[in-house]
């Protein structure tokens, strides 16, 4: 397996949608390719960081204000 072939399947590996055979082939490539290993690990980390950090928070005061506005208009039938 070449690095380009590995890269084409990177998402499937990360999202765990590969067959057992494919996984074995990908792991075989990883054992001999430090670059692809770094790419895999840092891409996983990228997703994890974005998942676990709130970058646009909704402050409680704003949340309550928007919520009140929505419900007010819903009660009036919009």
């Amino acid at each position: 397996m070449t690095c380009t072939e590995f890269l084409a399947l990177l998402d499937d590996l990360i999202d765990d949608t590969v067959t057992t055979q494919m996984r074995a082939d990908l792991q075989e490539h990883l054992r001999g390719c430090e670059h692809c290993e770094v790419t895999l690990n840092t891409t996983r980390k990228t997703i994890e960081i974005y998942r676990s950090h709130e970058i646009y928070d909704l402050p409680s005061s704003l949340r309550e204000r928007l919520h009140a506005a929505i419900m007010e208009r819903c009660k009036k039938g919009c």
Binding site: D11, V38, T42, T43, Y50, Y56, L62, H67, M71
Partner: protein, 210 residues
Amino acid sequence: MPMSTIQSVAGENEQHPDVALIAQVRAGDVSAFDQLVRKYDRQIFRIAQHITQNREDAEDVMQDAFLKAYQKLDQFQGNSKFYTWLVRIAVNESLMRLRKRRTGKMVSIDEDIETEEGSVPRDLADWAPDPEQNYSQSELAEILRKTIQGLPHGFRVVFVLRDMEGLSTEETAETLGLSVPAVKSRLLRARLQLRERLSRYFRRKKGGEK
């Protein structure tokens, strides 16, 4: 009994809790809609912020999306999840805001994708262990914001829905009116571009320094 509760939650054909709330809203119970708003408002606000990149627009989108969902609840078929349906409304509202702001300039999720940037990893340095620990919460949030804002629009929205807001590939495709292969291709490139850009901040420094 606790056991039977656990089993029924795990059952694949169980009714989603939103279905009962929607039935209540349809029967005229506005407070049931209140619960739906509270359940999904943060997600809708985030999605609107990511697309419009403007806080005021995101506030408007959030209100308009929920009101539209309320008005159109009769049209909700129930063959997709309520959340996915709501996200679709919010994405459309966000794109409309963006069009207004850019007065006349067409905005679609197909723009800006003719780039090869990041499709082949160039920065191959490994990252420090727990690299986010080297930044304060506010510094980190700023880095993450700046980095994702730099993505082409059509990649960013796919990454946000699929990786941050938990939609499946199929749901993302349906929501954005894209094919499944198109979503997959954009997701891979979005992930690789973000990785490449974050590497600048998170790579392991030479010489053992932090």
